[in-house]
Structures are given as C-alpha cells and as structure tokens.
C-alpha cells in the first residue's frame, strides 16, 4: 500500500471536490432546481412563527377542500432581514419566495419602482368577495393606484381600552362619547388622583395617526402625496398639545418598560389601539391586569364622526416572479375568505378577521376573561364599518419619519412650537425629500 503523503492527500481531496462540483453541474441540468419531486413546492416567507401557525392550519384546510398539486415550504426570517431579502431577490429575479408576509410599514418600499407583487384584485372580483372585507384593514394598506397587492386577515379596528377598576374608583363616566368629554373627565381624574387618563407619546405618531384617521385624515391623499398639515391633522396635534399644557396628560416613550409599569399601576389608565395592542401586547407585558380592562369605542370628534380607526397589520402578498403565481393567489385568497381557516387565527392569537362572513361564528363573540368577560367581538363588529378609508404611498418612511421628528416630537416637546408650525415643517420636509428622490 502506498503511503499517504501531503501531495497524494491533496490530490485525492482535490479530485473529490472537483468530481463533486462537476457532478453537481451536470446533474443540475437534469431537473428544475426547486421542484424535484412530483409535487410543486411553493416557498412562503414570514417573520413570525405565530403568523405561520394559523396559515399552516389554513393550508391543511385548503388541502382537504381543494387537493392541490403543490406543497408549501414555510420559512421564518427575522423581521428586517426577511423584508430586505424579498426586495433583493425580487430585483435579482431569483431565490425569493412565492408568497410572503409583508408588514404594513414595509409595503411602501416595494411599490417605489416596478411593483414586485401580483395584483389580487381580479381574482377577488371574480370570486365576488371584495365587498365582504373590511377593506380599511384587509386591502387598503396593500393597495396602490387601484391595484391590490396583498391581503390582511387582521381586523385592526381600534378601540379605547381602559382600566375599569381605576376608572370606577375615580368615578369616571363610561362610555365617554366625545374627545371633549374625555378631556373634561381626564382633567378631573388627574386632579383627584394625580394620575393620567391617557398619555401622549412624543417619540412616535401612533396616537396622532389614530385620532387623525378618525377624522378622515391620514398620512397621504389619494395621489400618495403627504397631507401632514391638513386641518384635521392640525386639529389632532392641537388637542394633544393642549392635553399636555392643561396638565391632564403625560409625555411618554411607549417603547420603554416604564410605560407598562405605569399601565400596570394605573398611573396611565387608558390605551388606544387594535386587538394586537389591547389583547396582544397588554396580555403579554402585564398579564397581572387580567380582568381589569374594558373596551369601548373611541370617542368621536364630531356628533356623526367615526368611533374607530385602523392601525398596523400584516398582509400576504404573491410575488410576480414566482413560477406559480396562480396557485399562490388561489391559496392566499382562499385562506382569507374561508371562515374555518380564519377562525384558527382567533384561537391562536385572538385576531378578529377582516372577512365579514366569519363574524357569524359565535366563537368571535364569546366573553373574554381578560376583558372582564366583555363580548369584544360584538363591539368590534359594531364599529368596524366606521373605519375611514385611507391611502398608502411609496413614501411612507420619509413621510412618517418627518411627521414624528418635526411634527409630533417637535411640537409636544417644545412649548414654543405651535401644531400648525410643526406640521407645516413636517409637510415641507417630507415633500422636499420626496422631490429629491423623484427629481
């Protein structure tokens, strides 16, 4: 037997590597890179396990009912990484998913150039399902120039969630009908208890958005251009600033742990938002407050004004470069229009669906112990038709960033800056940046 020396070892190793590489190259020409089996495989990219959990169940229902000739490969990435990779693979033309979860604030970057998603509107029209959705949460966030590039199943109907034990002890009237009435109650509450009925976050625009949308305003107009200094926008910020100067509200950074402590201790006794906020984050962060929360519609701005808004959400989109666009669209529209599939998400995450017929299920209207056995589903069903229509735009990050920095933060931190001045500055800067990008 020949002794193994360095040279023979390197030769042998090189030969194995070369042979492996060659066989890989030759064999790769014999079959498609992805679909090597009898069935097709669609890749689904997501950024959270909890969302794929209900969709996996939805696919089981889909398989039972439709017996498709494809399987789905579920891949979960970190949030930012997934959204970056989708864009890069779509621009590169390969290596990306067929279907993907797209978070609302990330959608704008995919519509800046050529839209990389397939339009779902024709299929939904063909199915006759478009009007069966609460569109402000289901389609508006993923729509651009009349096309629907994603479907959301999370009905993000916003409500006012309050610590009923704290409110009751302080004798706060319920339900509060208008924001003016809310301010009066808040002044009295602060005087009596030293605590705050509602805080005003100064480092993001969440409350501003909800209150402005309630009045029919928003970040953008129908043409996708910012509308930050519209009269209703100014009205909202004026209310917020007055709440601080009158002393009944508190400046907060809601991203900090102290916010949860304040909610738990009743120092802040109210929060606003959709189900993922009042029944998601609150249950996770301060579970000790179970049974101490009640929900009511948001107060109105005018006698016939809306009692709700929508905030956030994640939609499911189909990529145009997918070789299986039809199959992907079929599944995505199925999972969003099949109550059996959607109800799984309520059981997993307590998410109320955007598909109206699903509300016929008694499951959605059951009393919830976290909310002192209140029938939350009934309330959501009652106010959801009042969510005003709104528009998305390719310039979401530029606009929301300018709004927070120059509008909300600047106005709520500096006593000398008026709401009008702050929002004019925000609007001008947003337009300047957009102008530079589109020059």
């Amino acid at each position: 037997m020949r002794p193994v020396n360095r040279r023979t070892f390197l030769k042998a190793a090189g030969g194995v590597v070369a042979a492996g590489g060659l066989s890989e190259i030759l064999l790769s020409g014999c079959a498609p890179a992805v679909n090597t089996g009898a069935k097709k495989t669609l890749n689904f990219w997501a950024f959270t396990d909890t969302r794929t959990a209900w969709q996996k169940k939805a696919f089981e229902v889909y398989k039972k009912q439709k017996n498709p000739d494809f399987e789905i490969n579920w891949v979960v990435f970190p949030y930012q990484q997934m959204h970056d990779k989708i864009l890069i693979t779509a621009l590169g033309g390969s290596g990306g998913p067929d279907i993907a979860d797209i978070e609302i604030s990330q959608f704008s970057r995919y519509i800046k150039g050529d839209v990389i998603f397939a339009d779902l509107a024709p299929k939904l029209q063909q199915m006759g399902e478009l009007d069966n959705f609460y569109q402000a949460s289901a389609t508006d966030p993923w729509s651009w120039q009349g096309k629907i590039y994603g479907l959301g199943n999370e009905l993000n109907t916003c409500l006012l969630s309050y610590r009923w034990d704290v409110w009751q002890k302080a004798g706060v009237k319920t339900p509060i009908e208008t924001w003016d009435e809310f301010a009066q109650e808040a002044i009295r509450f602060h005087k009596d208890t030293g605590n705050y009925l509602l805080d005003m976050p100064f480092d993001d625009s969440r409350w501003w958005w909800l209150m402005t949308l309630q009045q029919g305003g928003g970040f953008f107009g129908p043409n996708g251009q910012p509308t930050l200094n519209s009269p209703v926008s100014i009205n909202t910020l004026t209310y917020q600033k007055k709440a601080l100067t009158d002393g009944w509200s508190l400046r907060t950074q809601q991203s900090l742990q102290s916010y949860n402590v304040a909610l738990a201790q009743g120092q802040i006794a109210t929060l606003l938002g959709p189900s993922w906020n009042f029944s998601g984050f609150v249950q996770q962060n301060i579970p000790q407050t179970k049974g101490k929360w009640h929900l009511q519609p948001m107060p109105r701005w005018t006698a016939d004004g809306s009692r709700t808004a929508t905030w956030g959400g994640t939609g499911v989109s189909v990529l145009k470069i997918s070789p299986y666009v039809e199959e992907a669209i079929d599944f995505v529209t199925f999972e969003h229009t099949t109550p059996e599939a959607l109800l799984n998400d309520f059981q997993i995450r307590q998410v109320w669906p955007t598909y109206k017929p699903a509300f016929n299920s008694p499951l959605l209207n059951q009393p919830l112990p976290f909310f002192d056995n209140q029938k939350v589903g009934d309330l959501i069903k009652e106010v959801s038709p009042e969510i005003p229509k709104w528009y998305n735009s390719p310039y979401w990050p530029e606009t929301t960033d300018a709004l927070t920095r120059l509008g909300v933060t600047n106005c709520l931190l500096n006593p000398d800056v008026t709401p009008e001045q702050a929002l004019n500055d925000a609007q001008n800067q947003a337009k300047k940046i957009i102008g530079f990008e589109t020059a």
Binding site: D203, P397, R405, E437
Partner: protein, 316 residues
C-alpha cells in the same frame, strides 16, 4: 508512427507535469491565500467601488438608476439632517477623546501603580472593567434603556435620593447625546484601558530609576517620561476613538432611533435609514463617502500632529 505519436503525447504530459513540478512551489502560496482574497474582492472591494459608482446615480434601490452627477453630494450639503448627524457624531467623538480616553488612562495608571500591591485586587478590577467591552452592545443598550428611563430609571432614582429632579436622559434634546456618551464610556472603558496598560508596561523602568536619581518627583516623571513614551499608544487610542465614534450605530439605533427630533442621529444611523428604510441607496453611498473622506482627513491630521510630537520615533 503510432509509437512516435504516443511518445509525443507522453512528452506533452511529462512537460505539463514538469511545468507544475517546476512552478508549484511558486504558485502554491498564492493558491492557499487566494480564498481570502477572492472573498475580499467580492464582498469587500467590489461593494466599496460599486457604492462609489452609485453615489453618482439616482434611483430606487439598486435598480432603475439614472446618472445624477454630483447631485447627491450637492443635496447632502443642503440637508439639515446630515448637518445634525455630523454634529452629533462629532459630539460623541469629543466625548470619547476628552472623557473616555483620559478616564481609561487614569484607570490604567491606577492598576499599574506600585501603590496597589495586592495582585488579586488588580486582577479583579482589570476583569471587571474589561467585561463591558466584551459584552454585546445590544445587551448593554437594553440595560441602559432601563437605567436612563425618566420615570422609573435607576439613574433618576439615584438622583432622586439627593433631591435632584428627574432628567429626561433619552427625551431631553440637550441631554440625549450625553446619555449616549455615558453608555459609550461604560462600554469601552475596559478596552481602552488595556491599550494604555500595554503602553505603560512597555516603558523601561530604568527611565524612572534614572529620573528618581536625578531628583524628579512622580508628577515630573509622569509628564516627562510616561506621557512622551506613551505617544505612539496615544496616537493609536485617539485614532481608534475617532474612527469608532464616527461609526456609532447600535446604541442610538436601539436606544433612541436618532431622536428626539434628530438630536441623537449619527452618521452611521442616517446612512442606514437612507439605505434600508427609504431605500435611497445612492444618497446613502454619497453620505458614506463624505464620511470616509472626513475620517481620512482627520486621520492625516492626527498622523501629522503626532508625527510633529515625535510619536513615531523609536525610543531605546
């Protein structure tokens, strides 16, 4: 005929083998180091030059570009956010230079002092001061978010014991960069101290003995022996502090996202926001190149300055 043909073929093969045998010792080293250089070329050099090219273009992401000349660079000088980012980053760099570095030197001198004789105590402090340096910046930032909290933070609770009103460490525009500097000092004190310690240990003790014989006191020895002989280390520490400061990203990204109202926006964070939030990659590249140019100028200035002080002359 066939035999002649076979001989020619064999000769060619022998020649080929002979060429390899003759040259393999020259070629092999290059082959062995080539994986690094190939990767460096693809993932290092190529992106650097590509980003320079796209800084002269305009368009969304990496696609649909149109030539824009110096447009991105001209816009940059009218962009108030760039100005804020540059000022904030410079403020942090000054904090590193004027607070972190002297403090680290004091700690190094204390640990190196002959007055601290008990070795376990020295080792304990060395490890304790060095631990934050090897801890993830993400972890440190999450902890400091609790420390800096206005209402329930440790720092304000501590100040409250002395009757000092709560400070908006992360919400007051005038204080927020100081908070970031405090975090930076805590994070990098141990690492910087180690550089100083290495420099101090490299100084020949005979110099101090000779100075003592000549009647120099400790203060004179420090100014006339320690500091001049530490100049090469000082140069390194200063340069490292400047370059590190201008790349500040994780703490501000996690702690304040650049707020309130851009008062903690740094250059690296602004580049990230432009590139990965607005997907304005061309403009982000222009900012990155201006930042690089700025750092090159600062570095050359430092080299000249320390050179004029004799930092690069060898001392025997």
């Amino acid at each position: 005929m066939a035999t002649a043909q076979a001989r020619i073929e064999t000769g060619k093969a022998v020649n080929r083998r002979g060429w390899w045998v003759r040259n393999q010792r020259k070629i092999a080293p290059y082959l062995f180091v080539s994986p690094f250089y190939i990767l460096f070329l693809v993932f290092g050099i190529y992106p650097i030059f590509y980003s320079l090219i796209i800084s002269f273009f305009k368009g969304f992401g990496f696609a649909q570009k149109a030539f824009y000349g110096l447009g991105n660079y001209l816009f940059l000088f009218q962009d108030p956010r760039f100005g804020h980012a540059l000022l904030n980053t410079t403020e942090y760099a000054l904090g590193s230079l004027l607070i972190l570095n002297p403090l680290a030197l004091i700690c190094a001198l204390a640990l190196n002092s002959i007055f601290v004789r008990w070795r376990p105590l020295k080792d304990f402090y060395r490890v304790a001061l060095f631990l934050p340096f090897i801890t993830s910046q993400v972890v440190i930032t999450i902890i400091f978010a609790r420390v800096f909290d206005t209402q329930f933070g440790l720092l304000n609770t501590l100040l409250g014991w002395f009757g000092i009103k709560p400070v908006g460490w992360l919400s007051d525009p005038n204080v927020v960069m100081l908070s970031v500097i405090i975090l930076g000092v805590w994070n990098f004190l141990g690492g910087t101290m180690l550089f100083w310690l290495a420099g101090l240990n490299g100084i020949n003790k005979d110099f101090y003995d000779a100075a003592a014989i000549d009647g120099a006191n400790r203060w004179q020895s420090f100014w006339n022996i320690t500091m001049p002989l530490l100049l090469p280390v000082t140069f390194f520490v200063v340069l490292q502090a400047i370059i590190g400061s201008y790349n500040l990203f994780a703490p501000v990204f996690l702690l304040t996202s650049g707020g309130p109202s851009d008062h903690s926006l740094t250059l690296a964070l602004y580049i990230y926001n432009q590139a990965f939030q607005n997907f304005n990659v061309s403009y982000a590249s222009a900012i990155a190149y201006v930042m690089t140019l700025f750092l090159v100028i600062l570095s050359i200035f430092n080299i000249k300055l320390f050179g004029s002080w004799g930092a690069f002359e060898s001392v025997q």
